[in-house]
C-alpha cells in the first residue's frame, strides 16, 4: 500500500483519520475501475484493442469490462451517440451504482464531431456528466489509457468522507445550455442515492 502519508495538506483541517480513510478509499476506487463499454461505432474497436492483450488495461486495474451496468464504475462512451440511443445511454448510466465516472471517447461523443446533424447528440455532456474528454477520431488506445491514468489522478483528489453529508452525485447542470458543466464530486454512496429506475416504456416489465 506504500506510504500512508496524506497526499494533500488537509490533515490539519479535517483530522488525520478522515484523510487516511479518504486515501484508502480512493486507492481502492482508482485501481479497480471496471469499465462499461458503450461501444457505439468505430471507437468501440479501439476500445476493444485497449482491453485486449496488446495495450492491456489490466495493468491499471480496469480490465474487467462488465456488460451489466450494475457491476461497473466507469462508463466509456465510445462513438457517435444519436438522440435515439440517448435514452438507452442515460438509462445505463442511471443503473450504474455510485461512485461512477464517465469518459467521452473520441470527438463524436465529446462534441458531436463531424456529425453536425439532426440525429446526433452534440456532446454526451448534454445527457451525462462527463469526467474526461479524449480527442481523436478514433483516439488511439494509448490516448484512452492516458485518460484512465488522468482519471486515477482525479480520483486521488476526491474527498469521499468529507462529503459524507453533502455528497454530490449529479454534478453541475446548466439548464440554459442544457449541458452538464461538471462531473460529480463523489461522496460515500448512501442507500438509494443511485437511480435504478423501472422501465418507462409501456408493455415492458413493470410500468
Amino acid at each position: 500500500m506504500g506510504s500512508l502519508k496524506p497526499a494533500d495538506g488537509h490533515a490539519s483541517e479535517t483530522g488525520f483519520f478522515v484523510t487516511q480513510v479518504d486515501w484508502v478509499v480512493n486507492w481502492g476506487r482508482k485501481n479497480s475501475l471496471w469499465p462499461m463499454p458503450l461501444g457505439l461505432s468505430c471507437c468501440g474497436i479501439e476500445l476493444m484493442a485497449m482491453i485486449g492483450p496488446k495495450f492491456d488495461i489490466a495493468r491499471f486495474g480496469a480490465e474487467a469490462a462488465r456488460f451489466s451496468p450494475r457491476q461497473c464504475d466507469l462508463m466509456v462512451v465510445a462513438g457517435t451517440l444519436t438522440w435515439k440511443m440517448a435514452e438507452a445511454a442515460r438509462l445505463i448510466y442511471d443503473q450504474m451504482p455510485d461512485p461512477k465516472w464517465v469518459i467521452a471517447m473520441g470527438v463524436c461523443s465529446s462534441s458531436g464531431g463531424m456529425y453536425d446533424s439532426y440525429s446526433v447528440v452534440q456532446g454526451v455532456d448534454m445527457i451525462l456528466p462527463v469526467d474526461l474528454y479524449v480527442p481523436g477520431c478514433p483516439p488511439r488506445p494509448d490516448a484512452v489509457i492516458d485518460a484512465i491514468l488522468k482519471l486515477q489522478k482525479k480520483i486521488e483528489r476526491e474527498k469521499p468522507f468529507q462529503l459524507l453529508l453533502d455528497g454530490d452525485v449529479v454534478g453541475e447542470y446548466d439548464s440554459g445550455t442544457k449541458r452538464f458543466l461538471r462531473a460529480p464530486n463523489h461522496g460515500v454512496p448512501t442507500t438509494g442515492s443511485h437511480e435504478v429506475l423501472p422501465p418507462t416504456k409501456p408493455g415492458r416489465g413493470r410500468s
Partner: protein, 173 residues
C-alpha cells in the same frame, strides 16, 4: 431483344414515358395511379424479379414535388430498369408494392420515415430510423440539416425519468 424493348412490350396497354437518362440506363416514368399494375407487369412479363431499392427525390419547391423511384433487377437477363412516378407535395401517398415484393416493406418504411410519403396498403408503415413520435421527415429539402428540436423526445423522456426518480436534485431540475 433489348431491355427497353422487353420493358415496353411488357407495359403494353399501360401509359408510360421512356426517359433518356445521361447514364444510359433503361428508365421509364409512369403515372402514380398505375404503379401496382405496371410493376406487376414488369415482374411477371419482363422477368424483373428483384427489387433493388425504393426511394424518393424531393424537388422542392417544384410541383409535383416528390418522385418515387424504383429499381429492379432481372436475374435471368442480368439487366436493370428504373421506374419513376411523380406525386404532389401535399399529403403525398402512393400504392405499396409489398404484395409484389415483400422485401420492399423496409424500403418503403425508410422512404416514409425520410420523406413522409405514405404507402397505401403497407401493413406496418412506421418509422424505421428516426425515433417513433418524431414530427418531421429529415430528407425533405425544407428540413434544416441541424434538425428541428432534435432533443425534444429525449428531453420529454428525461423529464418523465426525473419525475419518477427517488433522487431529486435542484441543480438538475
Amino acid at each position: 431483344m433489348s431491355t427497353l424493348e422487353r420493358v415496353v412490350e411488357a407495359l403494353a396497354g399501360i401509359s408510360h414515358t421512356v426517359q433518356k437518362p445521361r447514364d444510359g440506363a433503361v428508365a421509364i416514368e409512369i403515372e402514380a395511379s398505375v404503379v401496382p399494375q405496371a410493376l406487376a407487369a414488369l415482374r411477371d412479363r419482363a422477368g424483373f424479379d428483384t427489387n433493388v431499392f425504393v426511394t424518393a427525390i424531393d424537388r422542392y419547391p417544384a410541383e409535383p414535388r416528390f418522385t418515387v423511384c424504383y429499381s429492379f433487377l432481372s436475374t435471368a437477363h442480368n439487366d436493370r430498369v428504373r421506374v419513376q412516378a411523380r406525386i404532389p407535395g401535399e399529403k403525398p401517398h402512393i400504392a405499396t408494392i409489398t404484395h409484389l415484393w415483400p422485401g420492399t416493406a423496409y424500403s418503403e418504411r425508410e422512404c416514409y420515415d425520410m420523406f413522409g410519403i405514405v404507402f397505401d396498403g403497407h401493413t406496418g408503415l412506421k418509422r424505421l430510423l428516426m425515433p417513433q413520435g418524431y414530427d418531421h421527415h429529415p430528407l425533405r429539402k425544407d428540413f434544416p440539416h441541424q434538425g428541428i428540436e432534435p432533443d425534444r423526445l429525449y428531453r420529454e423522456w428525461d423529464q418523465r425519468r426525473r419525475d419518477r426518480s427517488p433522487l431529486r436534485s435542484e441543480s438538475e431540475a
